[in-house]
């Protein structure tokens, strides 16, 4: 028996989203067609803001930094997350304690994570440079180095989110049919061959799921950078989201900032769409 019922219960939620998200989104699209400095009268420029975008070096810089951080952090997190998940799947002891340790980094507020790493990575008093010294390596400027700031942010994000990926992949591993592994073992597959030919293909849907979740957060990366460098030094860590935010709320160039945000949203939704397609390809 399938009767439509309770449909009215959706209305308040949909109404709320329409007012708080749908209308503002339309308003953003509308504003992106205006030259509009907050406080002054807007005047229409059509697609002018988007044309300006294509000729704006800071936009391309932001796009490059966004993608650089995305690829670096996602690759590191997927590899380390897989390693950690396989390890967790083998070690059966202290599960509760280990899980408590694993969830702590990613439930901390990003602001706290940023402040914490500011102290650890401080070039003059930080523990990170001290550890480098113990290993006989030269000190680094970390977040203060134009060339190394993005790898450093990727390092912080990897520290925070690798355990999350590991726990998703662990759940995927534990849901795999055990008889496949028994059959593979009988056929003589083990070690790296087993991982490459059996485990990875079976785990692929979970991996794509984890990658999707991280893609959304990484492509719109904001909090940790804003707390630690605010896009600096110079523009070395100015992701698209940071650039758009500063354009809007520091320089109050609302119209152009709206166009930047629309571009960023297209990027995020495009990546999610691609990954959703990939999810269907690797399904089994």
């Amino acid at each position: 028996m399938h009767r439509r019922r309770f449909v009215w219960m959706i209305a308040p939620a949909i109404g709320f989203v329409a007012v708080m998200v749908g209308f503002p989104f339309a308003y953003t699209l509308w504003l992106s067609g205006f030259a509009f400095h907050f406080g002054a009268a807007p005047h229409p420029v059509g697609l002018g803001n988007y044309r300006a975008l294509l000729g704006d070096g800071k936009f391309w810089n932001g796009l490059w930094i966004t993608l650089y951080l995305y690829v670096l952090a996602l690759a590191a997190q997927l590899v380390l997350g897989l390693y950690l998940a396989l390890l967790l799947n083998r070690v059966k002891r202290f599960r509760r304690v280990v899980r408590s340790v694993l969830i702590s980094p990613f439930v901390l507020p990003p602001v706290v994570v940023g402040l914490m790493w500011l102290v650890v990575l401080d070039p003059s008093i930080g523990a990170a440079n001290y550890l480098l010294g113990l290993l006989g390596l030269p000190p680094s400027l970390w977040l203060a180095s134009p060339g190394f700031v993005i790898p450093t942010v990727a390092l912080i994000d990897t520290w925070q989110w690798t355990p999350f990926i590991a726990l998703i992949l662990l759940a995927g591993l534990q849901a795999l049919p055990g008889d496949v592994f028994e059959a593979a073992a009988i056929d003589g597959a083990h070690g790296f061959a087993l991982l490459r030919r059996v485990t990875l293909p079976l785990l692929a849907p979970s991996i794509v799921t984890a990658a999707t979740l991280r893609s959304v957060d990484l492509l719109r990366f904001f909090d940790v950078i804003y707390v630690t460098t605010q896009g600096g030094p110079g523009e070395a860590s100015e992701t698209l989201n940071i650039y758009g935010f500063r354009q809007g709320f520091v320089f109050l160039d609302i119209g152009y900032a709206c166009a930047l945000m629309v571009a960023l949203t297209v990027l995020v939704l495009g990546a999610v769409g691609l990954l959703a397609r990939m999810r269907r390809v690797v399904a089994w």
């Binding site: 602001v111 102290v119 904001f222």
Partner: protein, 275 residues
């Protein structure tokens, strides 16, 4: 290939050692932050960094004496609590109806709202709420943070409602129960564990969320995360006090997450796991 017991034991010891190292790496920065909060200002800036030091509570005393830390905490509580209540009040009935009618589009719409960059909404909100002089008010902060909690509540509750046997709901309907009665008296008690996860994750997300309050909070409504951020910019940073503040701000989400740790990842990944 049959492994010898010795070889198996060696391998398992190696696994344990690797996991121990991973845990140390994950915990070290957090413990460093907590320790720095108990260091004197001389010890916190000492180089080489000190592992052993005389712990002091001076930083915590300074936090409460020199800044209105409790006011900020109250603001965080009001915003996160209010946003959680609204998110659950709207999201839970919606999830029930979406699950019963197997509708896709409302859930997908919520997911899109969750994936868009926050500034996409923040720009028009800023213009709109400035126009009615509402920037800095609690109700604006609560409503905007409910945009974070509502999709979360809906997506976390969906699998719990999906797992309810339809016959239970149908029986209640045949007994003449009203729609609202079916939800509150029959369905909700059966999904209580899901409600707990949803409530806790909504609160944690709103507590942690930085961007909206960064722009929309005012002098008397600043939540902890924004206050801590502002603290950095004030010239010479008092690292010890800042780490004490960071420790206190991070404590509630970590403690709350421990309560639901077994369901936590499923809750956070809700929406991505289900196709």
């Amino acid at each position: 290939m049959v492994k010898s017991p010795f070889r198996a034991r060696l391998l398992s010891a190696l696994d344990g050692a690797q996991l121990a190292i991973a845990c140390v790496v994950l915990l070290a920065p957090i413990l460093w932050m907590v320790a720095a909060g108990f260091k004197s200002s001389a010890a916190v800036t000492a180089y080489p960094p000190r592992l052993l030091f005389h712990p002091t509570t001076a930083n915590y005393a300074a936090l409460f004496a020199r800044m209105p830390f409790l006011d900020y905490a109250w603001n965080s509580l009001v915003i996160a609590g209010g946003a959680s209540v609204i998110g659950l009040a709207l999201g839970v009935p919606a999830a029930f109806a979406v699950s019963w009618n197997r509708m896709a589009w409302p859930a997908v719409a919520m997911l899109a709202a969750r994936m868009a960059p926050g500034a996409l909404f923040l720009l028009p909100w800023f213009v709109m709420f400035s126009a009615i002089h509402a920037v800095g008010s609690f109700w604006v902060l609560i409503l905007t943070h409910a945009v974070i909690t509502l999709p979360l509540a809906l997506w976390i509750m969906l699998p719990f409602f999906d797992a309810l046997p339809r016959s239970v709901i149908e029986a209640a309907l045949i007994d003449g129960c009203s729609d609202a009665g079916v939800l509150t008296r029959v369905a909700l008690p059966l999904v209580a564990p899901g409600l707990a996860v949803a409530a806790i994750l909504c609160f944690v997300f709103a507590w942690n969320y930085f961007l909206f309050a960064l722009v929309l909070s005012g002098f008397s409504t600043t939540p902890l995360v924004v206050a801590a951020f502002n603290f950095v910019g004030e010239g010479v940073t008092d690292w010890g006090a800042l780490m004490a503040a960071a420790t206190l701000i991070g404590l509630p989400p970590v403690l709350l997450a421990f309560f639901v740790q077994r369901r936590l990842v499923g809750g956070l990944a809700a929406g991505a796991v289900k196709e």
